[in-house]
Symmetry: C2
Subunit: 396 residues, 2 copies
């Protein structure tokens, strides 16, 4: 029988230019001694023991936990309470369970953009958002942004007069990834006003419960129906459970359920039940407080180290939420080159700003920018990692 060659499998046009994402490279290929690269929880802070108890209870409750079944009603009710912590009043019937926030974005891309539709995001954006929308081959319209002033709302308003019917604006209002900014009141008011007029907003809020100063409510709290909220247990419970949620108007849920069914079956999973049991035990609020406390210490520790380490003319953010610090080095430093040397010579990883540029939109400062994660490493590792980066910068 004639054997085919692999080349004969013909890929869809958009898929021919797929490259490994910087995040996957860091997760699967690089094994740096010290990593500030990814948005990983601190491993020693994961509640393994309580989740073990929860898993045992779920499996002891009968075969229903292993069978196809509707998404967990109880978990949807628990999320109504979690949304209250974010300042959002919603009903369980508005909560749609997903396999993590990333699936929420992927489903919304299908629901609201569709093939070759339009979408708006900031020039610096979570790379997973771009990966969620790319299979639709959308027109991506970007607005200016930076880590200190946030998204250019004037620019957004101007863009909306030019670009007809964008599917939605994608935004992190609290603990931005990668810029680490939490939006101020004025920007929030203007965004909410825009959403009330013509613009659907998708608010991706994985870090909303990890706040260190103040307590910014979700953007969704001000405008119930035209802002779709994307929530996640990955940063506050466990990434490997793959449980997240959307808060979206009830009339969208038939379509959401059908799209999820087409994506990975819209069934109540084992993980949903384990998360639900853990939350039912009452431990989530306490766990989130413990995380926020630990991460605040790590943030402060890294800020101290940055002040001692970075060359004059550098600037960096002091994030009030989230798990990243955004750093801009002065000329002539280059973050991509810095990463190469940090990885190969010192076993230290971070991600350069250019990794987060939406297509067709490279900022001049991107090559001098770094995203540093502070949740994953211990204080000793932060100290040592920053010391190694300082060595490279000193000898530049």
């Amino acid at each position: 029988m004639t054997q085919t060659t692999p080349a004969e499998i013909c890929l869809a046009r958009w898929a021919r230019s797929i490259r490994t994402s910087p995040l996957q490279t860091m997760l699967t290929k690089c094994r740096p001694a010290i990593s500030f690269a990814l948005g990983l929880p601190g491993p020693e802070l994961l509640p393994a023991e309580q989740l073990s108890v929860a898993a045992a209870a779920v499996l002891a409750s009968g075969p229903g936990a292993l069978q196809y079944g509707p998404p967990s009603e109880e978990l949807r009710h628990q999320i109504v309470e979690i949304m209250r912590w974010r300042g959002v009043e919603c009903k369980a019937s508005e909560v749609f369970l997903t396999s993590g926030a990333q699936q929420g974005l992927s489903i919304l891309a299908k629901l609201l953009i569709g093939p070759r539709g339009r979408v708006v995001c900031e020039k610096y954006v979570y790379t997973g958002f771009l990966q969620a929308i790319e299979p639709m081959m959308p027109e991506v319209h970007t607005i200016e942004t930076d880590a200190w002033s946030g998204p250019d709302i004037d620019g957004l308003e101007a863009l909306l007069t030019r670009v007809a019917d964008p599917g939605f604006l994608y935004i992190n209002a609290t603990g931005h990834n990668p810029l680490s900014l939490t939006l101020g009141g004025e920007a929030r008011i203007r965004l909410v006003k825009l959403s009330a007029r013509a613009l659907t907003i998708v608010e991706d809020d994985p870090y909303g419960l990890l706040q260190y100063e103040g307590d910014s409510a979700a953007l969704k709290s001000a405008s119930p129906s035209s802002i779709i909220y994307v929530g996640s247990f990955s940063k506050i419970l466990s990434p490997a459970l793959r449980v997240g949620w959307l808060v979206a108007p009830e009339h969208l849920h038939t379509a959401l359920a059908s799209i999820k069914e087409g994506s990975d079956i819209n069934t109540g999973t084992f993980s949903q039940r384990v998360a639900c049991r853990f939350i039912a035990s009452g431990g989530l609020r306490e766990h989130v407080s413990k995380l926020a406390c630990a991460y605040r210490r790590r943030r402060d520790f890294m800020l101290d180290a940055l002040a001692r380490t970075l060359p004059s003319g550098s600037r960096w953010t002091t994030p009030s939420a989230g798990i990243f610090i955004w750093v801009e080095l002065p000329e002539p430093y280059d973050a991509v080159e810095l990463l190469d040397r940090a990885l190969s010579e010192h076993g230290v990883a971070f991600l350069p700003g250019v990794a987060f540029c939406a297509k067709d939109s490279a900022h001049e400062s991107a090559r001098r920018s770094l995203r540093l994660n502070f949740s994953h490493c211990t204080e000793d590792q932060i100290e040592e990692g920053m010391r190694r980066i300082a060595v490279i910068l000193r000898d530049w």
Copy 2:
């Protein structure tokens, strides 16, 4: 502040016609006393106790099970062995882990079809396949098929001369859903020859290990590179774990990983580790044998009941694999009407043939056809359910 109305969220064009799938309706809305409607494992056959032991061991092994991390290498190696049971020799590097077979289909739709691409399937097809491809708004080309002679390969060859570059042909070669047919040798040889020439084939094989007579190898066994295999633990271990796999040429894995990352993050999940631990304990082969034995008995029990129950002029399949029997009633019976009465008056469910018709392709016989599942109910339930259906048919 002005409140928006829900109507202001504008859906992508394809999404405006989404309706709840018949499978979701059965899973979430109907609670019939006896259901032959869905492809559910028998609940009492799920290995809850062994999975409980596995979950405890996974969680006791440290926080890695709850953290982001690469897909499970060990599980990929275990799947190489499982593929041997299906007659397929492959490498672990060709195994790509998914959140169930459905996600495998959704990823392949993005990879191989793309926005407004082309695809080929049979006129009767698994509805989840259509849901996986719909967000791409593809041109769906169908070939004739029936439960006794299988897909019309002559028609497929003719279609391939008319339709340029279809992304792939979707097929169940073993234990077809919904038609219950297992393809004979000649059809397999012709399909493999076609795949060696110009046609990528996606072989969805969730029932390949549930065979009752004979031992049909996967189509993939005959042609390593141009057939992509879709596998699942949902029918042989637990649907709620959401673990499945693809076997695809290595050069596609960068793109597969990126698409999965965009869909729900390409990370090793808790469920993967639990499945892996269960398999490592050596229990899978024995469990599959136990299932096949139990399902064979249920199949035979249902076949007996059909012979006693159905009106003269009916015909039905004797499936050698899978978990469904396909029934065709004579004129003037109507399966949709039968379902209405069975559900509302007798608490019995099944799915009518029309639920599985690919768009634009209704067979004349579809309205007289039923798909009956025999894996989910006990023998007593099968007896009672068929008795109730017989009552309706007798009084037609």
